[in-house]
């Protein structure tokens, strides 16, 4: 079975990463009752003995995450190493600094990039060597800051150079409009150019959407309506460990858990068995029709399971409907009113192929698909449901509804750039020039243009292409 390595960069990346590892352990613990180090665990974890040597089979001795943790400040990584997950990581997997990147992409990319390149390559190699078949790197970072954004995308380049055959899946948290980092548009646009050119697949996430989902759940829990008690462990926002629990639990914890669940569900079919498996390389194959259009909008349902067994479970079909509702998307987007290039449904648990087919039939008339991919659906069935649920659905869409997010980003960038606001902080960094900015915004513009070209075709009558003529 193939393995994946998680590279978590910056504060956001590491916080999300930490939630992910916590959830992964809990998921495997609930499935793997015998404590045997099986193929499913092998995907994300090594099994080591007391001396730290890898054990390939047999009982679980000590599990180590296949992860590299990178931050230019120490705070977050230190918290992780002192928290409940401290035994899951070892010092050989970390790279930290004290000074931070000052919310400056150029510092993250140009300064720390060149300073740490060799160390980064070495840590990545070590982690890769522990895999007998490395299939995928998951990079987790935010776009608005300095480390996650700058150093994170630098690392993306390194991954492509050093491991060209390994897939690069990037989970990127985009800043919201009211982001408190003023220069986040610069950082994001500079980072986007790198994502355009070096990522295989990007899952954009917006904090606003995560926040809305958390609010929705809170409303539900606090509504006091009879029968609305929720099974605690089914909450998509739940976190029991990970970062040391503070009395006033940050909303970020809940939000990060949603993203962690996303990653878990994405990889479930390659870890666990099912009647229609989907490996990670199939995601890129099916959802990326043209190399640059590799941004996938994701949605997760259900968000929770009701604890009261007397209330009939929400109809299965409702789960499918919700996945297409704009309230469940992890970015501020409405895929239903935009154009689908492709769509994937990753189903877990007690669901059969007839359920999927019925729902596709039901939903497809309300969705707009591009003319050359009218039946652009990819499905997978994994038998193992997530903890606390009997079934779940992750929908991934390659849809032009990402365009507004990118246009908004470009507009915020231009507002700053026209005034040359804060530009000197960037330009004073060695090897950082004005052309970096112009190239980055140009890359973003051409991406937006590609989506425009597709949007224009929406709703037009579809012409059958003239077929080859055969002379008998």
């Amino acid at each position: 079975m193939a393995q994946s390595v998680v590279v978590q960069v910056g504060q956001c990346g590491n916080q999300i990463g930490c939630c992910f590892w916590d959830l992964a352990l809990r998921e495997h613990a609930s499935v793997n009752k015998k404590g045997i180090y099986d193929d499913a665990l092998k995907n994300f974890f090594r099994n080591v003995d007391t001396r730290g040597t890898g054990i390939s089979k047999g009982r679980i001795c000590s599990l180590k995450a296949r992860a590299v943790l990178i931050d230019m400040e120490e705070g977050v990584v230190n918290e992780i190493l002192q928290g409940p997950l401290k035994d899951v990581f070892d010092s050989k997997q970390l790279i930290t600094n004290v000074s931070g990147s000052g919310n400056n992409w150029a510092v993250g990319y140009k300064v720390f990039g060149s300073q740490y390149r060799d160390q980064i390559v070495e840590k990545l190699r070590q982690t890769a060597e522990h895999c007998d078949c490395l299939q995928c790197f998951f990079l987790i970072h935010s776009m608005g800051g300095g480390t996650g954004s700058g150093l994170g995308t630098f690392i993306l380049n390194v991954l492509e150079d050093e491991f060209p055959e390994v897939y690069r899946f990037v989970t990127s948290v985009f800043p919201s409009g009211e982001d408190d980092v003023i220069t986040s548009p610069y950082n994001s646009v500079l980072a986007m150019k790198e994502l355009n050119e070096h990522a295989d697949c990007v899952l954009p996430i917006e904090n606003e959407s995560l926040f809305d989902i958390v609010s929705k759940i809170n409303q539900m829990i606090n509504s006091g309506k009879p029968g609305t008690t929720v099974k605690q462990q089914s909450l998509v926002t739940l976190n029991e460990g990970g970062i040391k629990k503070k009395l006033d639990e940050k909303p970020f914890d809940k939000m990060n858990n949603i993203v962690a669940n996303l990653l878990l569900n994405l990889t479930s079919s390659s870890r666990f068995e099912g009647s229609l498996n989907m490996d990670l390389n199939e995601i890129s194959m099916n959802l990326v029709p043209f190399p640059q259009l590799h941004y996938l909008v994701s949605s997760l349902t259900p968000l929770y399971t009701l604890a009261d067994v007397n209330i009939p479970p929400r109809r299965l079909d409702q789960m499918f409907s919700d996945a297409f509702s704009k309230d469940y998307q992890l970015i501020q987007a409405d895929p239903k009113h935009s154009l689908y290039l492709a769509c994937a449904l990753l189903v877990r648990g007690n669901v059969q192929i007839s359920d999927i087919r019925r729902n596709i039939e039901r939903l497809k008339s309300s969705l707009h698909f591009v003319s050359w991919n009218q039946e652009g659906w990819k499905t997978s069935l994994c038998s193992v449901p997530p903890v606390g649920h009997s079934h779940s659905l992750l929908a991934l869409a390659n849809n032009t509804c990402v365009k507004p997010t990118f246009m908004e980003l470009k507009n915020r960038f231009l507002r700053l750039y026209k005034k040359k606001a804060h530009l000197h902080h960037y330009l004073q960094v060695d090897r950082m020039e004005d052309s970096c900015f112009t190239e980055a915004v140009s890359s973003l513009s051409s991406l937006i243009e590609k989506y425009n070209e597709l949007d224009v075709t929406k709703g037009l009558p579809i012409h059958e292409q003239v077929r080859l003529n055969i002379v008998i």
Binding site: M1, A2, D39, D132, C133, Q135, E273, S275, L276, N277, D279, N281, E282, S284, M285, N286, L287, V288, P289, F290, P291, L341, A342, A344, L345, Q352, I353, S354, D355, I356, R357, I360, E361, K364, S371, W372, N373, Q374, E375, G376, W377, K378, T379, L381, E464, Q465, R467, L468, N469, I470, I472
Partner: protein, 453 residues
């Protein structure tokens, strides 16, 4: 003579398991409606083709399990071993760690050459065990990456390595929507390549089998297991032992070879469809009586009206008056009213089988003009019943059954190709636009040939 089943990819392995399991259950069925002695000969004949006996007395399936990732093969081996009735050979499988990513090019151009030697050695070792090899039955899907791409590569290799053996591909046709987005590309590439090296392609359509599960088997929440079991039943009804001729009491020695001889008179026409009646939930069997006249009448109408199953048959369709060309020789996208056949094979099993009147299938109007019904129609009758059905009939047909599905897939693939969507995923691994065009050309040729019957 032995038939080696090669199970490729997730689909091939999942179905292959059900096929062997169904055959085994049938062998142990006491409702064969025949004498004990007869049953024993039936069992021996089946085993001769499909199983090895080893010291443990649990029959070992003559099968090879091949997949590029390990999960499905592990599951399949385990399930067989747990059944207690049969198992797979200990060293009969080959797998790798990373799948083909639904990419035909990856299956064909990367996995194929890389593992060619290992896989061919595995096959060679298996084949050496047998006194005589009839040929290969390769079970594969068209939609994914391994079954389709590696399947095409392997079929070619088998043809080169075993020029005197028959090769039949059990090709699983994906659902029209919602399995794999690039399934039409993968299908086009697979079919065009298979056509060169395979002797016959027996097609099983997921959409059709799904409807059978829904309408005839009354299954509410249909799983892939249900679909695969129906396909296994259909294949079993073809491959289980049959008498070699009307008056013989010997079971056929070479079912694969005889099937080819009966059904594929011309290399341009290799697409075979399968219809099987009756089809019903097992617990209804005890309450239903069957008559050959009724079964055969329905099956004949299913043939000529291109019905996919025994429900919703269009009884208005009639064969054209003999001597006149069929009025409905139109393009394939108009609903094909009358289904012209090249060749048909009728396999009858069960009680009073010798009294069944198959005259309706010998009508020259059913067939193209260039073959006499005596050459175009073949029947195999066996009075040992199959899988608890007191009477059952299977029709393997080389006709226009698959014309519309084929045309549909080519059309969709062509539409996508015109926009060049996803093509970069294939060129990455050496399948260029010209290769696509070649495949399209081959398939348009096949469509035209069947259309003009």
């Amino acid at each position: 003579m032995s038939v080696v089943t090669v199970q490729l990819g997730q689909c091939g392995n999942q179905i292959g398991y059900e096929v062997f399991d169904t055959m085994c259950r049938d062998l142990h069925n006491t409702q064969g409606f025949c004498s004990k002695r007869e049953n024993e000969i039936y069992q021996a004949s089946c085993k001769e083709h499909f199983f090895n006996e080893d010291k443990s007395e649990v029959p070992v399936a003559r099968a090879l399990l091949i997949d590029m990732e390990p999960k499905v093969i592990s599951q399949t081996l385990l399930k067989a071993a747990h059944s207690g009735r049969w198992k797979y050979g200990q060293h009969s499988h080959f797998c790798q760690r990373q799948g083909s990513g639904n990419n035909w090019a990856y299956g064909y151009s990367v996995h194929g050459p890389k593992h060619e030697e290992s896989i061919m050695n595995l096959i060679q070792r298996e084949v050496e065990e047998y006194d005589s090899l009839s040929g290969f039955s390769i079970i594969m899907s068209m939609a994914g990456g391994t079954g389709s791409g590696l399947g095409a590569f392997l079929t070619q290799n088998l043809r080169d390595a075993y020029p005197n053996s028959f090769i039949m591909n059990q090709v699983i046709w994906p659902y029209g929507t919602g399995e794999v987005i690039v399934q039409n590309y993968n299908s086009v590439l697979t079919l065009s390549h298979l056509y060169r090296s395979s002797d016959a392609l027996l097609v099983h359509e997921n959409d059709v089998v799904h409807k059978i599960c829904a309408k005839l088997m009354n299954i509410k929440q249909i799983s892939f297991r249900d679909v695969n079991q129906v396909i296994a039943h259909q294949l079993g009804s073809v491959f289980q032992p049959t008498y070699s001729s009307e008056d013989s009491f010997q079971y056929r020695r070479n079912p694969l070879g005889d099937l080819m001889t009966a059904l594929v008179p011309h290399p341009e026409f290799k697409m075979l469809g399968l219809r099987n009646i009756p089809q019903m939930p097992e617990n209804s069997l005890a309450y239903t009586t069957f008559a050959w006249a009724g079964l055969l009448k329905h099956l004949r109408q299913m043939l000529i009206s291109n019905a996919k199953m025994e429900e919703g048959i269009d009884w208005q369709v009639r064969p054209p008056l003999s001597g006149l060309p069929a009025l409905e020789k139109v393009s394939p996208n108009k609903e094909l009213r009358f289904n012209t056949s090249i060749a048909n094979l009728l396999i009858l099993r069960g009680k009073d089988v010798h009294s069944a009147d198959t005259g309706g299938f010998k009508d020259p109007a059913l067939y193209t003009s260039w073959l006499q019904p005596s050459d175009a129609f073949c029947e195999w009758r066996t009075h040992r019943a199959f899988n608890k059905y007191e009477k059952s009939a299977a029709l393997v047909s080389n006709s226009q059954f698959l014309l519309k599905p084929l045309d549909t897939i080519v059309g969709k693939a062509w539409n996508m190709f015109a926009s060049k969507a996803y093509v970069h995923q294939y060129t990455k691994f050496g399948i260029e636009e010209e290769d696509f065009l070649d495949s399209f050309t081959v398939l348009e040729q096949i469509v035209a040939s069947y259309c003009n019957l």
